[in-house]
Symmetry: C2
């Protein structure tokens, strides 16, 4: 074996401090982007068979769609809505959850009640904000995460059917969430309530908490943003590192970037109420974050976690092996789905008053 000096330097760099300056000495080059060769990443053996099926699903061939008009967006959303809505009644039945549709402060909401509602949860309410890139899953098509949470937490869940673009861009969605929250505060002790949601629902969970602080409203006792879309701009390492590896979102430059602009409607994408990672998290309630190692939003999640911790907030991070974006929501029978909701339920149970 030819032991070259660079080998020693690099191995040493594994654990010696001040490697940065040393590395510059050793390589004589400024920091550079990483060039990765083409490669094949196998399905991990370290997840359930249900999760293997999800991880092994091919990339969406259509993540790079660019609807060019309100009509094209609506057509795309309408077809997705029909397919998603069709699955909801069976899910309610399978998981023994009953649903009531009503209005609060002019906003449609769905209230999910699990068959088993133990006395300690009778006064608790989990407020849900659905995901879907700010354009997808209106009406009952956005119900699935709320149903899963009701079933696995044995708590009541209220899901907000907020307005969306193209007809109602920012701040309509957040206005609706705040209207519901303000009204709920009239009849509920905030210490008995939590706020949660995934993806766009996670970003809005953070944004709604920031806005509640701005408006001096009482905050929920705990929040659980799942893989939150915390940065609507293409900023953060996993937008690049996990591109084409995440088979759900695949990349930023297609539907996602279009949806961000459609929602923002000319507002600064880095406004903390649109991209909450740029907000001030001091004073936030205890926060539980969930993501996956292949998630395009891995950085969106861990950046929020670090910022919360730096602000002194109690924050727990849960990263699932091999999962792409939000795959803990996709199969109600997967052990990882039960684990994800079980962890959040336990966190809420620890932080919500009875």
């Amino acid at each position: 074996m030819n032991i070259r000096p660079t080998a020693v330097l690099v191995l040493t760099a594994m654990f010696v401090v001040a490697a940065a300056s040393m590395a510059n000495d050793a390589y004589g080059a400024p920091p550079a982007a990483r060039k990765l060769p083409a490669r094949t990443v196998p399905i991990p053996s370290t997840v359930s068979t249900e999760m293997q099926a999800l991880i092994g699903t091919p990339l969406s061939a259509d993540w790079n769609l660019h609807p060019k008009s309100a009509a094209q967006w609506k057509a795309l959303v309408a077809q997705s809505t029909a397919t998603s809505s069709a699955a909801i009644p069976a899910l309610l039945k399978k998981l023994d959850v009953t649903r009531e549709k009503t209005m609060i402060a002019g906003v449609t909401v769905f209230i999910m009640t699990p068959k088993t509602l133990p006395p300690e949860n009778a006064n608790r309410l989990l407020v849900h904000i659905h995901g879907g890139a700010y354009v997808f899953f209106p009406g009952e098509s956005g119900n699935s995460e709320a149903i899963l949470m009701a079933a696995y937490s044995h708590m009541k869940v209220l899901s907000i059917d907020y307005r969306m673009p193209p007809d109602f861009p920012y701040p309509a969605a957040l206005d609706d969430v705040m209207s519901v929250w303000r009204t709920l505060l009239e009849t509920h002790d905030p210490k008995t309530m939590a706020l949660f949601g995934t993806s766009t629902g996670g970003g809005m969970t953070l944004a709604a908490t920031l806005r509640a602080m701005q408006e001096h409203l009482a905050l929920p006792a705990a929040i659980a943003p799942g893989t939150p879309w915390s940065d609507l701009t293409k900023t953060g390492d996993s937008y690049f590192a996990n591109q084409m590896l995440d088979n759900v979102l695949v990349g930023y430059d297609g539907v996602l970037s279009g949806a961000a602009k459609l929602y923002a409607n000319g507002h600064d994408l880095k406004d903390p109420l649109l991209s909450p990672v740029y907000g001030d998290f001091h004073g936030f309630p205890p926060t539980f974050l969930t993501t996956g190692t292949r998630d395009l939003f891995l950085s969106n999640t861990v950046r929020v976690h670090r910022k919360l911790r730096e602000a002194g907030v109690e924050a727990q991070l849960n990263v699932f092996e091999g999962q792409s974006h939000a795959q803990y929501l996709f199969n109600e029978d997967a052990p990882e789905t039960k684990a994800a909701f079980g962890e959040i339920a336990q966190f809420f149970d620890a932080h919500l008053s009875r």
Copy 2:
């Protein structure tokens, strides 16, 4: 825009449950490995300039070395040891840490004392197991992490200079750690002690805890395995997904795989005392885990985190944006280094008696 049915199916799959069976229907193919095209991943803008320098360092050209004899291993280690040791005195001086070298139960240990040692930490002791793939960093060359911890936690740190292959393969290293631990228990309340280390030191932190349980010894009050080498086999998604992205370890099939075999010396690599992810974590003390989004050992870390949580153990996970393996140790001035040690120190402070 041509709205194809597959687009609707895929977008729907983002949030509808039972997507696994649907995906099989839609694509008509069994789960498959992900084929990634060649690409360039830029240096993230979301980390400090110090961390950008580390992240931008080129891949080791030599991660794929394969020493073929004990003499070749020793030559490789010797050169790395000389370089690493040379940096230690300056680090001690810079961080105002004093060091004492002594023996406990026949094992060399280094005791690091920070200049500021507040009264509440006077009786506390953090026991450190250094990293280095089970072969690197003997003697003072393995001191850097212990020095950083002493400086940033303001606690006393005892670092174990355990025996290593090629002369002393498994279980010598673990035997040494257990000998020190057993002897420390004669004079120290275990509630005032913690165990920590990074990479191999993280794996051994977990293995030593498993063995302490087997031997019915008292456990430390808390442990902090940093990006632990919890699986010595090439099992876990990030061994594949982060290959060539992690610029510190780069890949499993070179020095790492050789070192694993050298250490195991014929023992089963999946024995829980070699690959602790296969161990039973019920009864573990509170555990703090650290890793990075580009870390080859990201899966080694999150798999342990999930298993701890499934065993009902209090476990905190900290994932740093953009970092490859153990880069929170490389530059004592980086804000991320201070954050990493600050988090662990806070965790130890919350869990150790005074």
